[in-house]
Subunit: 225 residues, 2 copies
């Protein structure tokens, strides 16, 4: 079956490093969903404001590869343990469709882009193609008794973020909370553990550089990209 | 993007009428997910038994149409109220991809079809093409505070099913509970309310015929198809 984007989402991430590993991890991280002209119809959104959460089906646009691998190595398992691709949310899968749950914030009426959906808790790269938007239906989608395998273990992992004021102030006010939130979610791949290493996260037009020692992440530099 | 089925699901429904309107409504309704030969690799399922629930991305195979409509009329709203397609889980949408959450029951090892996934709480037509299987991750997917718009209203609606013993006994033992469960979920479209009308649900090779008066569904006949 051929599928085509109905929209593109705009976020503060134009590189993968630092994007939260699941949706909903950083509430303050917002996205703007702009429909392509063919699907830019206000009626198509009628009633959407009755829902608090939405599902996005999207393209893992940086994960297209020839062929497929039956196993993947989730970064949160240290990058050494192989898990079946269908037991993972890895972007590298036979059909590169991602599934994220975001909060619906509001509809923004714009002169040039029509009705834009503002959502939060995103985990998507800037300009990710969106294939579908579906409402979250609590009685069918929320399973309080669900067991999440290896993914349960890491859900509580957070770093303490030390973000010196003079560096934080370089970032626009309304984006500071999201920047800190993404850092606290520990962007490191595969439990790298080298306190001397300087990492760099591209966010909202800045490179945010930091080190991690134990559970403490320290921002060392913020530079405009 | 072109996507291709990784598997097909086998269920007891070869017609749409009577299929629960959301996944998880009828726990005893099971499905067998048989992978196509290219994706029939036991490693691809490694670790899946750590999860209690799975997401299925599938083809709304009976809902392919030319063009798209920005609004739909959900049957549970009486079939008269128009809702935006992106505020609905309607099968008629720009990209005909469905999303269901099912319970993982077990892996069945078979000589001819490889490792088959047995799932329950299905809401899918027999032979529906499956595009992806992802684990349900409770911390990202279960939002206890979610609000479900118009869909919240109908989640509690159930009928009392009167299924006379001599008719129930025509159906194989292990399928009786699922048959009753689907009936109690009220298969009528658009709140039809005609006590004289005889409905027929195709299930597991039988036609189950019934009437509905108020909140009581009465099975009147069971015949082999």
């Amino acid at each position: 079956m051929n599928i085509e984007p109905i929209a593109y989402i705009h976020t503060d991430f134009d590189e993968k490093f630092g994007i939260p590993r699941q949706s909903g991890r950083v509430r303050s991280l917002t996205g703007r969903i702009v429909f392509v002209p063919e699907y830019r119809k206000p009626e198509a959104l009628r009633g959407i404001d009755g829902f608090s959460h939405l599902w996005l089906l999207f393209d893992f646009s940086l994960a297209h590869r020839e062929g497929w691998s039956p196993t993947v190595r989730p970064p949160r398992l240290g990058g050494n343990t192989r898990i079946g691709v269908f037991a993972s949310r890895s972007p590298f899968r036979p059909n590169n469709i991602g599934l994220s749950c975001v909060r619906f914030e509001r509809i923004e009426k714009t002169p040039d882009e029509g009705d834009v959906l503002i959502v939060s808790g995103v985990d998507l790269l800037d300009m990710t193609p969106i294939y579908d938007i579906k409402p979250y239906i609590p009685y069918a989608d929320c399973h309080e008794d669900a067991v999440g395998g290896y993914a349960d273990r890491e859900s509580g992992h957070r770093l303490d973020v030390v973000f010196p004021d003079e560096m934080l102030e370089l970032i626009p006010d309304e984006k500071r909370q999201a920047a800190s939130g993404c850092l606290s979610d520990d962007p490191r791949p595969a439990y790298q553990n080298d306190p001397a290493r300087i990492y760099s996260m591209a966010f909202a037009g800045f490179d945010i550089r930091f080190t991690i020692d134990g559970d403490v992440l320290r921002v060392t530099e913020v530079v405009r990209r």
